[in-house]
Amino acid sequence: MTTVDLSASSVRELNARLHALPADTNETAWRIAEPKGAHAVAAGLTVPVSVEIDGHVGYYCGGMNRAADLTINGHCGTGVAENMMSGSVRVRGNASQCAGASGHGGLLAIEGDAGPRCGISMKGVDIVVGGSVGHMSAFMAQSGTLAVCGDAGEDLGDSIYEATIYVGGKTGRLGADCIEKEMTPEHLARLSALLERAGIEADISGFRRFGSARRLYHFRVDNADAYS
């Protein structure tokens, strides 16, 4: 276990050490102490190491993550795991706005609540939130899955392309072109597997599924005159 104390080392020094690790590194377990809300902690990792962060972090923690597994024993500021490619990021506390924004792959598990715009423009990432999400979550979501065990705020899935949203609690007004869809046994099985992968327990019997009505982004011949 390699421990880095951010009250003694800068984030820049920490990230430089993590970025310099070769893919076959033996230093596979890292612990980061005293983050005190610092930004960009463990962002841009590209190798399969596990990093545990003891405390609250600022913006873009684990941003662009590839292959690494991060655990944050605290709350996160804006954009945790933003543009994640693969690997996993687990947040033991709450996450602020834009959690998992534009993520291409991997798993983001938030045990507490997430703020507004969770999963905005997600492109394949799987996001599981044990609590609730704020307004405009999964805005312009293109691919991947957002599973929310609690409630979802207003305008869920606004302008959604192709992505799957599951919500266990209440939803506010749905966003433009986002509709409720049938929860088939196949979807229940997928949700169950996702929650298990995320290590978040929930009774899935009350979950509902949401997705795109596909009215907004497909060309409709009825509108042809508008373009002539």
């Binding site: 005190k36 609250h56 500021g77 709450n94 703020g115």
Partner: protein, 302 residues
């Protein structure tokens, strides 16, 4: 960008150290606002028959003694003057309003930063750590304080354009964000006779809340009315004689973190400013919901 912070002490035993705690919080927001910084501290009340005003003179060698003599002659009461860098806190008999009016008419070179029975407001250009040191904030006690570090977007980098903005006796406001309808709202308020000191958008919000309070609204009601009348992005923190309030706009793109223990409530744009508060590891920490007014007062409750 900008950063805002607020600290409200519930436990009287901590009040002696308010300034030192608060200076650390404000310094934590230096990256978000390196242009100017300011703060309002609520402490050291004057008797009910008196008021205090925080004044700013751009000239660092300003002759505060002669101002004191002129105030003494005008109000038949000798003021006590406590000079801190280019600011001075003036304590004088009677209500603050008449001194504010007298200064506007007779001493246009002097700017009134704040007035009331408790509030003292200090603001200047530069980094927050330098500013709190310049004004000796670390040595101040008190019940609560709010502050701001500014990265200017809407108007010039000057002391006058720095936050907090005073709204009324012992009421002031700090703002992270930008308002888009401030010119129209300023005109509306000017038609009702309100006077403005700058072209800054936040001053409009401060005067707006003061106007609502003058009409008889509670702080909570005044801020809830702002949800309809103020257009733009904002996280506001308001300090009053016995309380503290936080409000985010419906879109909530400007950050805010609240933390509370049995001893204190603190608000900051980012957790970085809360990280060194005593007992923060045991605090309840959450992000204020959009369009919800959060208030705390020394009379209890939220």
């Amino acid at each position: 960008m900008c950063g805002i912070v607020g600290l409200f002490l519930k436990n009287p035993a901590l009040r002696e150290g308010l300034g030192a705690r608060f200076a650390t919080m404000l310094a934590g927001m230096a990256d978000r606002g390196p242009d100017s910084a300011g703060l309002a501290v609520f402490h050291d009340p004057v008797p009910e028959s008196e008021c205090k005003l925080t004044l700013f003179a751009p000239d660092p060698n300003h002759d505060w003694e002669s101002l004191g003599s002129a105030v003494a002659a005008a109000f038949s009461s000798t003021p006590r003057i406590d000079v801190r860098s280019n600011h001075a806190v003036l304590r004088v008999a009677g209500p603050a309003g008449r001194v504010v009016d007298w200064l506007a008419a007779n001493r246009p070179d002097i700017r009134v930063m704040g007035y009331g029975r408790l509030i003292e407001v200090f603001k200047d250009k530069g980094l927050p750590g330098d500013i709190t040191e310049r004004f000796g904030v670390g040595g101040m006690g008190g019940t609560h304080a709010i502050g701001h570090t500014r990265m200017a977007t809407e108007s010039a980098v000057t002391t006058e354009h720095s936050h907090p903005f005073i709204a009324a006796d012992d009421v002031c406001l700090v703002h992270n964000g930008s308002l888009s309808n401030h010119n129209r709202l300023r005109l509306r308020l000017q038609r009702r006779g309100l006077r403005f000191e700058s072209d800054n958008d936040t001053e409009v919000a401060a005067r707006y809340f003061a106007h609502r309070l003058n009409e008889g609204a509670s702080l909570k009601e005044a801020m809830e009315a702002g949800l309809d009348d103020l257009d733009g992005f904002y996280t506001f923190a308001v300090g009053t004689a016995d309380g503290f309030a936080v409000l985010r706009d419906a879109f909530a793109c400007k950050p805010a973190v609240l933390a509370e223990t049995d001893d204190w409530v603190a608000m900051a744009s980012e957790f970085r400013s809360l990280a060194d508060l005593p007992g923060v590891d045991k605090a309840t920490i959450w992000e204020p919901e959009p369009s919800i007014v959060y208030t705390w007062s020394h009379e209890g409750g939220s």
